[in-house]
Symmetry: C2
């Protein structure tokens, strides 16, 4: 039986990438040249790995069109690490950070951020059960500025950065247009839709993403940060979380998560070979539209997220009861459609349709939806 893995992350990798990993065991072949050991056993300061990480950076730059005044870092600690790392590096004393809360992840980011300085929630859709992306009220921002008690000389607005999670994995909403007209850098947690669409890097100060959704296995976090933000960090923060320090050492200050970076490098080459982000975006729209259309036409299931804010990556839906939810998840598992249970804090169902999910996987899910519905009508 062919299985399809709808896991929210760690998630499906392209079969070609898995095949390459297998071919590179027991001996890693870099550009076809055997390296005398597997990629897990070679020095991260050897020529082959340094070339690999340089190429991975260049491939990422090509895919996203990253301007030259941005640095690319490969870090550890995942999104939760960045929840602390961002304010440690960017939140100035006597200033605040403005968070837009569209789900569990940005809510946690704001809570974690408040350990390191003043955090202000500028907008939240929690009252709407995170079934939409909260709209940023620019009057609120202006008002915040007026009330700022810090240094207002030199046009200082009192805000160190704005923060948004551009795709909410748990609740299934996605920011399709990033906020503009901001007076401070925008920090974007793009973890769960990274490289599934084009984004205007130049409109952001910092973008980060854990690899384990669209780009690789767990264990590495990609950070894209504008040069001028590197200087902000105070010296007394952990060296491994100091953006400027990591940038200076090209992510090889300490031993990096070698294998995770290697798989990420393979996946970046796969995305390029498939046609890059325009093609990933076309596929993401095709996959998610098929499923949302079926759910909107369903008498049993319902996709609760506001149409214009729906995620192309994480399609969240519900049946009328938790019992039917559980029965449907079980029904799907018996057909090889795995990990469709919703997040433990939300319940319901969630189909994660990342870059590596083929259309045939969505078709198999649609068949399951129709058959299950017919038997429960």
């Amino acid at each position: 039986m062919q299985t399809f893995n709808f896991s929210p992350g760690p998630a499906m990798l392209p079969p070609e990438v898995i095949e390459q990993i297998k071919n590179d065991l027991p001996e890693w072949k870099w550009k076809g040249v055997p390296q005398g050991a597997s990629v897990m056993e070679v020095s991260h300061r050897g020529k082959a790995f340094e070339e690999l990480i340089d190429e991975a950076e260049q491939d990422l730059r090509d895919l996203l069109g990253i301007p030259s005044n941005y640095r690319v870092l490969f870090m550890q600690g995942g999104a939760w690490g960045q929840f602390a790392c961002v304010p440690m590096n960017l939140l100035r004393a006597n200033e605040r950070a403005g968070y837009i809360v569209s789900g569990g992840w940005s809510k946690s980011a704001a809570e974690e951020g408040s350990k390191f300085g003043e955090v202000s929630i500028l907008a939240s859709s929690e009252d709407a059960l995170f079934n939409l992306v909260p709209k940023l009220n620019y009057d609120v921002i202006e008002n915040n500025k007026k009330n700022h008690k810090g240094d207002n000389s030199q046009g200082n607005s009192g805000t160190s950065y704005y923060y948004i999670c551009s795709n909410e994995t748990v609740y299934g909403n996605e920011v399709h247009t990033l906020p503009s007209k901001l007076d401070a850098p925008l920090v974007v947690d793009a973890s769960s839709h990274f490289l599934s669409r084009r984004i205007d890097v130049a409109s952001c100060g910092l973008i980060y993403a854990g690899a384990q959704k669209n780009v690789g296995p767990a264990g590495v976090t990609i950070v894209i940060v504008r040069d001028d933000l590197l200087d902000r960090a105070p010296k007394a923060i952990p060296a491994v979380w100091h953006y400027a320090h990591m940038a200076k050492h090209k992510s090889l200050f300490n031993t990096p998560p070698v294998f995770s970076i290697y798989v990420t490098a393979l996946t970046l080459k796969w995305i390029k070979a498939q046609g890059g982000l325009p093609e990933m975006e076309r596929r993401a729209i095709a996959r998610s539209s098929m499923l949302y259309d079926a759910l909107d036409g369903s008498k049993l299931f319902k996709a609760p997220v506001l149409i214009e804010d729906r995620s192309r990556m994480n399609v969240v839906f519900d049946s009328p009861s938790v019992e039917i939810d559980a029965a449907f998840v079980k029904f799907c598992e018996a057909r090889g459609l795995m990990s469709l249970r919703g997040h433990r804090v939300r319940g319901g169902m969630r189909a994660s349709l990342y870059n590596a999910m083929p259309v045939s996987g969505v078709e198999a899910l649609l068949s399951a939806v129709r058959e299950f519905e017919a038997s429960h009508a």
Copy 2:
């Protein structure tokens, strides 16, 4: 040509472990049961991975005889992460931490630690070029106590913890007997000799080790910490670096480095199957003695570390000149003996003889030493 990898880390893994990884692609078999995807693609909250991480912990407990009042954590960030994490969690305000500096790693740990509180260097062998482990002068500790200006009520000595690196990867010294008679918990960076010998866990407050020497690939750090130290951490430290928080969630608070933990789990089973730590220790003594004996009998090469402080894992040696060093490294590479160049800050040669290094690798190196010497006499 058979190659042997003397890399200081990331280092050799047992061939049986590499073979198992290959067999588990494209589909992970947990206890022989196919999981529908590779280990990189399954949920860390699924039953199989939770069983795997539980077994890894139990195997580690069995191997080291870890008492029940110690917790085992699988973290990210490597030793440099712990350089910050340890003082963030354990260094109390108005107290100091006492560091024993036996090489580059403990020196860096002390420098990093001083970002987060008062650090005192109790002993250092830097003047002796780190060719020995500095002996701890207990009078210095007593004197430190008397000068302590903090809270002396309730027998508070003013020291939050003592810190030692029990095997110095760069300079090749090893602590064969841990300091005793201490009045505060001992923190041990055991990264580069972890699981190569028995240690008395109960004599330490905290032991940590990056996996990429003896236990697995880069990307995961094992922390063994005594229960009563978990309560010390202030709330306002990063959640992913909060020992109590990670312990409460059994290392699954956020997405862990799944693949690195999986390989570590396989390696722990391998160590057990080989005969556990008594056997690892026997092999380590056999390998390193063969090489030190040859070097001590050599007219060309010299092992500079004090005999009683020599590392069984990282054998450091020099020829009379940097030119001969370079020629020897090249000579070895042509024979498949890889990564023998010393650390960039020290120079010379270094043969890292971790658990996965077979005796035949050391024999091949001895032949190279003899032949090179004969041609350079």
